[in-house]
Symmetry: C3
Subunit: 349 residues, 3 copies
Amino acid sequence: MKFSYKLGELIDLLVPKKVVGHTSFSISSIESLTKTKRGGISFLGNPKYKKDVEISQASVILLPAGLDLTPKEDQCFLLFDNPSFALGKLCRDIERKCCPRPSGGIHPKAIINATASIGQNVSIGPHVVIETNATIADNVVIMAGCYIGHGVKIGDNSVLHPSVRVMNFCEIGSRVTLYSGAVIGSDGFGYETVDGVHEKIPQIGNVIIEDDVSIGANTTIDRARFGHTKVGKGTKIDNLVQLGHNVIIGNGCLIVAQTGIAGSTTIGDYVVIGGQVGIAGHLNIPNGVMIAGKSSVPNYKPKMGKILRGNPATSINDANLFYVLRSRIPNLFDRVLKLEESLRELLSK
Amino acid sequence: MKFSYKLGELIDLLVPKKVVGHTSFSISSIESLTKTKRGGISFLGNPKYKKDVEISQASVILLPAGLDLTPKEDQCFLLFDNPSFALGKLCRDIERKCCPRPSGGIHPKAIINATASIGQNVSIGPHVVIETNATIADNVVIMAGCYIGHGVKIGDNSVLHPSVRVMNFCEIGSRVTLYSGAVIGSDGFGYETVDGVHEKIPQIGNVIIEDDVSIGANTTIDRARFGHTKVGKGTKIDNLVQLGHNVIIGNGCLIVAQTGIAGSTTIGDYVVIGGQVGIAGHLNIPNGVMIAGKSSVPNYKPKMGKILRGNPATSINDANLFYVLRSRIPNLFDRVLKLEESLRELLSK
Amino acid sequence: MKFSYKLGELIDLLVPKKVVGHTSFSISSIESLTKTKRGGISFLGNPKYKKDVEISQASVILLPAGLDLTPKEDQCFLLFDNPSFALGKLCRDIERKCCPRPSGGIHPKAIINATASIGQNVSIGPHVVIETNATIADNVVIMAGCYIGHGVKIGDNSVLHPSVRVMNFCEIGSRVTLYSGAVIGSDGFGYETVDGVHEKIPQIGNVIIEDDVSIGANTTIDRARFGHTKVGKGTKIDNLVQLGHNVIIGNGCLIVAQTGIAGSTTIGDYVVIGGQVGIAGHLNIPNGVMIAGKSSVPNYKPKMGKILRGNPATSINDANLFYVLRSRIPNLFDRVLKLEESLRELLSK
């Protein structure tokens, strides 16, 4: 994204506690301290990288107020209680300018069934299809090529990136973001095998995505056999994640890319799941559990504690201990062999 | 999906062996025994959950004929030889009513090449593209935004959900379901490295999907280098699965989400593969093998038997034994240390 | 793909060093030596499969010049210095004929913003959307249903398969192939948790895909928090891969399907990563490293060497040794038990 801020504009926007150094710049890039060049802005988020400030070529650096550092010539320091927060404010400003919300309005090449209900100030892009009885609340943005099935509800201020598909009767809350290619409400993987034929079990439930949820690109969330597959308020899900039918995710969870959760498993609130984790079906994972990336969780018992790791997962302490000992196992074999030899020798005397 | 059945309608539809209890209801939800509320219907699939019947608030419960249970006041039991089967019948009826097959007809916003052949009673949604010489058989449903490449064949009664892409010359059988975002026939990942440049090996084969197959959302199946990548009759594949070029899958297999099978591997009939499994290329997995979720299969030898687990996979017995012993390895190190000490002491006497 | 070559046409195209045997054929299929039937062509790539030539039913076989084999009646051998190279030439010819590059031109059902710049001889399919200030260089092919965001740049001779989405301000080099459903430049997964609310960190960087890169179907590559997520020249990425924000991939890498690389990790040049590998964030993987499929890489230290395997990964030698010893661990427990018994007996004497 291309942008340019004069130092005065920056100061007006970010309101630093103090301005130190040269003050007649424009900045037009943001990078980490060591990568930024002249004309760029950077920040010190973690005081342990303080030395990077000294070598940084950044024209403007956002710093914690307490720090006693002197800008180089042609450099300006802006001091804040929380430089990361100030940077976030700047980034949001840039984002707002470079990628403004599409203007309200329905593109003439969108196809919207006459029975659908469309709120105020909604933006619907080209090639969007909205089927019968769908309800789109106010201020929703639906970008190009999305598919909104029959009876779907989308809450206010939600944003659907290009080519999202929300299948029949699913319900999306307010301020939800669905990234490109996500499929919400495809049929659950349920078959009954009768005489060697896998007969499909109808999947007549839906998916409920609660308020303030984010769902990553090309992620798939299957509809319930009956009842609901549900993602709780404020949960953030990354790309290429798979949630099976009737999975229930609590509030405020973080689920990293390529994780899969099998059918009917319930995840509590504020659970953090690393990338590429696999969780079996019909489990209950309590509130606040953290699962390291690449772990598999075929079952969960309270004695496993709150931080899990491994394949299959155990408490993280047990897992880490095993990984350390694993490297000593070849030596253990040697030691046992030596013991056997010593003992044999002893007995043969 | 919203529905409502009067008890009389339910009885006409499901034809129970016996009706016990109160009979003047409508039901408008389905859930498990413990979740259902008044106005809901539930069922006892497995007699071991018999106690859930006693606490269930369901207005109507489908039960096995032999069971001797008494409905609460305001509750009705319907008795069947196979309550699950009866429930399935009800669900299919609901599905049929809530999500009727799109009416036959080609949407005016579909783009169909004049050389394509379209059968009787085909439904083609908006923004579908069908390229030259494609053949679409009778009763096929192609939903919004699908792409059908040159020379593709789609057999009768198949259903393509929104945004499915079937690339040039692939062949889809009869009664196949392709879920949203599936990509059938993208190029195989084949490169020859010449002087540090990865030169693409042309992928001129295709993908053949046989009858009664189901392919999950955002799953990718690559076309063959030459010849065919093939999925056999009646096989069901879940979401986000990857099949490499020239993979051959037999009949009646079940492949759970996020599994990947590398190029040129052949999978027999009725193989069951759990989620997130990885299978290396150029292997032969015999009929009837089962592979536990999250396993990796870098090779297969008959002595591994029919049920595999682990990373890398072994027979499930060996894997389970190892997982039990794994937790005792820290203790084993202690025991060996003690043995060494004892022996040293003994020898020093 | 359907094709037919008379032997004369084959000879004209491939220019063999020598032609042996019967010469009045047409060939219309390609398969491996043991699968080809009459009317088919095959090749001997690796001399160790020489015996397959004797049993092959192929009408035409491409062979290394040095080999002294006699064709069967009704069979023709074409001799080359490099039969694989000759086969590749044939396959490219078939591909060119069966799947010709779409004719230049913009489909009337594409929607292209007036501020976008479109080069010479560009082919843009139906339902493509190109947003403001996008730049499409000469000879680019953009197939049906692609989405090209604001300010995106696409270099000459690149090909975008159906339904690719390139989000705002991303830059695609020359001769790049993006396969169907790939999402380039979705927001990175970055949240800051404030009082139990996961607040989105704006992701204002972009993705840069350098020249000659290939990105597989339904793969997702997230835009940078700021700066760039980058894929270096000549790197080939398979299907369903996930690259987090600010990941930097070097030149000439090969990354197999379903691998995930977490944010801010840097991968060197000519790194080869097997399928389903997981690499943690903020790591540096040096040039030339190879990582076996299904490995997890939570950290990297030079002493791990250039070939890694395992979960978590170690040097491949350590990993392979562990996998061998793993099968002997049950026996090790027995041996330690016996040692304890022997020692106890010894001490009790």
